[in-house]
């Protein structure tokens, strides 16, 4: 079983809650995904509106751990304030820390990310930093107290899959004992399986499921892929080779003209 900050989670699939066609479809997708963690956010609430409470009720009945994010924050201060508001609303120390540095790629601002992670860790948060595959950045995040890393596969919402296999493989190999979640950029179950085969502990996705024609079916597809990929990793895969090697024994083959 996978654990983050010593909390065991039933599934290696994490699922976002945004962009579904309806709350009912969201619920179906979660049921079929078996996801153990749901990402959520905080947003402005109008006076008479009680949208927050309605959404909270929906999430509560999913029976999952909640991981609030700081999506859309571009400064350290904004991210820290958002994290505090999320901790109060969702009653959890967990925070998926996003400090965005570039609007078109939603690439993390590495300097702001480390600073915000340091402040929040000192404030008692358990930080899940949304980061890149950069090794030095990973090391800095661990130094300021992060015990989980969430490298991107590709920019958020692109569905491009793992765009820097070498970088991700190196990151995984460099910090073998740190729980790592490939977060963002996955579009297909095969890409999730690939991440799991590489030894990542979990994957987090949202758009790939929410924007599929049949979100619930896609959620199950990802669940199976994550499981298949993890099994393959644990089974110690064979090494690839360039030349053919017959799988059927040559000894005993009949001589036929």
């Amino acid at each position: 079983m996978v654990a983050f900050y010593e909390t065991e989670v039933r599934s290696r699939l994490m699922l976002g809650t945004a962009q579904y066609p309806s709350p009912a479809v969201l619920e179906q997708a979660f049921r079929r995904s078996g996801a153990g963690i749901a990402t959520v956010s905080v947003r402005r609430e109008a006076g008479q509106d009680r949208a927050g409470a309605a959404f909270w009720d929906l999430v509560a009945q999913l029976g999952v751990h909640v991981l609030p994010n700081t999506a859309g924050c571009y400064s350290v201060r904004e991210a820290v304030t958002t994290a505090h508001m999320a901790r109060e609303l969702f009653d959890t120390k967990w925070i998926k820390l996003e400090v965005i540095g570039h609007a078109d790629t939603l690439q993390p601002d590495p300097f702001g990310l480390v600073e915000a992670a340091r402040i929040l860790t000192e404030d008692g948060f358990e930080v899940f930093p949304y980061t890149t595959e950069d090794l030095v950045l990973a090391e800095r995040l661990l130094e300021v107290g992060c015990k989980v890393l969430m490298p991107w596969g590709a920019p958020i919402g692109t569905g491009l899959g793992l765009t820097n296999i070498y970088g991700l493989r190196t990151l995984r190999a460099q910090f073998p004992d740190i729980p790592m979640v490939v977060d963002a950029g996955l579009g297909l179950p095969s890409q999730a399986a690939q991440a799991m085969e590489m030894g990542f502990d979990s994957v987090l996705l949202n758009t790939a499921v929410a924007k599929a024609g049949d979100p619930a079916a896609m959620a199950e597809g990802f669940a199976r892929a994550v499981e298949a990929g993890r099994l393959a990793f644990e089974a110690d895969p064979m090494s690839p080779r360039d030349m053919a090697a017959p799988s059927t024994p040559l000894i005993g083959k009949a001589f036929l003209e």
Partner: protein, 65 residues
């Protein structure tokens, strides 16, 4: 006094944050607050007073990725 609530100007008569929330219709709502970009925990709302031109953010749980 005029304050800025979630990016819009509002005229409120209360000055304490908890009373302002009631006046704006948030009574009992599941919300979190920040004044001038600084988080104000729920237990501190009664003793937090706002002044003319302050910026108040009121947020609630939402869908996220």
């Amino acid at each position: 006094m005029k304050i800025n609530v979630n990016g819009e100007r509002h005229d409120v008569s209360a000055t304490a944050l908890d009373a302002i929330l009631d006046e704006l219709g948030y009574g009992g709502a599941k919300v979190a607050t920040a004044v001038n970009e600084t988080f104000v925990p729920a237990p501190l709302r009664a003793q937090t007073t706002l002044t003319e031109g302050d910026r108040l953010e009121i947020v609630a749980p939402r869908q996220g990725g």
